[in-house]
Amino acid sequence: MTSVAARLCCLALGAALGLDAARAAPPENLSSVAKGVYAAARPRLLQIRTLLGSTERQSSIGSGFLVSADGSAITNYHVVSQYVLEPNTYRLEYTAPDGERGSLKLIAFDIANDLAIVQLDKAGQPYFEFEKRALADRMSRGERLYSMGNPLDVGFTIIEGTYNGKVERSYNDRIHFSGALNPGMSGGPAVSSGNRVVGVNVSKRMGGELMSFLVPARFAAQLLSRQHAPVALSPEAIRAEIGRQITQWQAGLYKTLSAQTLPARTFGPYQAPDSPAAWFSCWGRTNAEQVPKPRAMLQSTTCNTETSLFVAGDLSTGQLRVAHSYAKSVDLNDFQFAAFLSGQFRPSWFGWNRKRHTRTRCHEAFVDEQVKEAPPLRAVWCARAYRDFEGLYDVSLLAVTQDRANEALVTRLSMHGVSYDNALQLGKRFLAEIRFAR
């Protein structure tokens, strides 16, 4: 009862404060800025629609904005991905706020930063400039941003929100924007009050409120500054290009990882490598509170990276996961404990799609370095290749300690969209770090 009362009290207080603020400030201030921003931005905004070629119906929608006098516009890769992957099935079209329509040509895309450049069939339109302070990374937290786009196909919209710095636990730079992005706004610009682009609308967090994310403007500027011949739209060339970009991206990711030491975390008598970098988000779990009292104690930690790359509606890649489960028997006998442990002895990787992946192949063995410091292990290495992208694989390393019959550590390392060499390298480091706690 007291907590309900307290909450009501705070809500009332908040409302009172809001009223005070409204009385104190001239009412037209903020909205008039937005009005000005939208009026200036309007001829530079686009809705980008992917049409199913045979029916002329839209199959996905997003937003975009003009960035040069020759008619180049920026949007998200995921807005145009259907067309990129199936150019013979889909085509691209833009709709301007004044209702004018036209076709679009794909110029370039950047999978790692979820960006694409498209070209209008006409030139000479007004266009957006990039915010210098954003390119130099000198924005201040709390600064007001205005995001624009066409959410859910209801019409062009301007949204006010706040710049909240970079997302801390992300390998790919993303701006945390506290504003209400909605589907359909992807690819639209988020601008400063001076109407210069700070970022590109890209995603929001489900289950949070106003948790939205922008691709920093500098990636768009970089993509634009490279000299591009229009993308050759043969499926082979596109696949080769996507493969090349993911390969390059993961090379950077795993190079960063290989430079880090793997911190050890202790689990009962064992220690195992844990969260190798700040951009891993880690969670712990136990079965201790379960009713009835569990017959074996289980302590799990899972560390995920926020490195998922969107490739297609049915394919994301780039994730990395480290998970440990330490189990100790309370009153299970050796056989029962082994059965309990079998429940944990699974790779923890993400979905399989027969169109995208080859079948999974596994190698398994009892591994023992025959040293005092490391327990013998049962280890399983499972891997599958990407059908479309040569040199890229999903790999899972699974290991369980084999030195005791009533206590064990299960370790899982999952790597998605990785070169085989990088997977082997991290896998080796990982397995070598499973040791007895000192």
Binding site: R346, E364, A365, F366, V367, A383, R384, E390, L398, K428
Partner: protein, 329 residues
């Protein structure tokens, strides 16, 4: 002809099992559907006056056709005959009825001795207890949650029902085809069969871990089907010792068909879903029988998978090919 020795006409099944036996004190017996016969057959494929049984000058018996569209045949033969000599072990076919004729001089086999088999019941009880015990032990060894009576009682009961149904099926079949139910024999075969199945199932799982061979679990179904086939053959043989070769062949064919179907289903499942195959069931570490590898060797083998993966990049998704086969590396 008064004073003639009696003769027996037996209506038998196609396989020679007795249905009815009729005694006649005369040298000529008329057989047909009509009421002016000595033996009336209600078979619609039999003529009103179909056949007669006669004794010739040498006291030998013979069947002679009287008047029929369907004719007279020996046993299952295809050759229509006007007259068939009867020596007691052959049968004749008229319409869809099989008849066997024997006279009093027909020799029968020597008397079989009644054997006291004091071990039968203890053996059966022992087997059933072993089976239920094995089943309960298997449940117990995999129990990782709160032990509940229902976890043990209901599978054990379901198991007992399954075995009872299996035995009932074989006793009924045996009663139909050989005239005797042979409950004891079928029970011993069924219970031993289930026991072997259960032990094999658990041993294959243990062996897969101990020897680090996942093939032992992924191809466990081969062993299971062979065991089912073998015990089915034993049930068939318990029915009667006749046609052993034919029965063995039929069971083998069925087993092979079952194996083929399951292999195909497995291959198709592997081709269209991601069944990562490795030994999933861990056992206590002391059951390991194979040697260990160094990490270097483990990763060298892991590296070896790359070539295979690269080759299967170009396969049609969902196609069954050599890589669909779940071999141990």
């Amino acid at each position: 002809m008064p004073g003639s020795s009696p003769l027996w006409i037996e209506i038998v099944t196609r396989h020679g099992h007795l249905l009815q036996r009729h005694r006649f004190e005369r040298d000529e017996v008329r057989i047909g559907r009509g009421y002016d016969n000595d033996l009336i057959l209600d078979d619609p494929f039999v003529a009103p006056r179909h056949v007669r049984i006669v004794r010739d000058g040498n006291n030998a018996l013979a069947a002679e056709e009287v008047e029929s569209a369907n004719g007279l045949y020996e046993g299952d033969g295809k050759q229509r005959a006007a007259r068939i000599a009867l020596h007691g072990d052959n049968s004749i076919r008229i319409g869809r009825t099989y008849l066997r004729v024997r006279d009093a001089a027909h020799a029968v086999a020597a008397e079989r001795l009644v054997k006291a088999r004091p071990w039968t019941w203890p053996l059966m009880v022992g087997l059933v207890i072993a089976l239920v015990g094995m089943q309960l032990a298997s449940t117990w060894l995999h129990q990782t949650t709160e032990p509940r009576l229902a976890d043990y009682a209901s599978p054990a009961l379901a198991f007992c029902f399954a075995i009872a149904a299996w035995i009932a099926m074989w006793t009924i079949l045996s009663r139909i085809f050989s005239g005797r139910a042979r409950v004891q024999r079928n029970l011993v075969i069924a219970v031993s069969g289930f026991l072997v199945l259960l032990v094999f199932y658990e041993l294959a799982e243990l062996g897969a871990f101990a020897l680090s061979r996942r093939g032992l679990t992924s191809y466990r179904f081969v062993g299971l089907w062979l065991i089912v086939g073998f015990f089915t053959f034993l049930h068939l043989r318990a029915m009667s010792a006749a046609h052993s070769r034919f029965k063995a062949g039929a069971v083998a064919a069925l087993t092979i068909a079952a194996l083929g179907m399951q292999t195909l289903a497995g291959l198709q499942a592997r081709a269209t879903s991601d069944l990562q195959s490795y030994v999933r069931r861990l056992k206590p570490p002391e059951f390991r029988l194979v040697g260990t590898q160094s990490e270097t060797r483990f990763f060298a083998a892991a590296e070896g998978l790359k070539t295979m993966l690269d080759r299967s990049r170009t396969d049609q998704p969902g196609e069954i090919d050599e890589y669909a086969v779940d071999d141990d590396d």
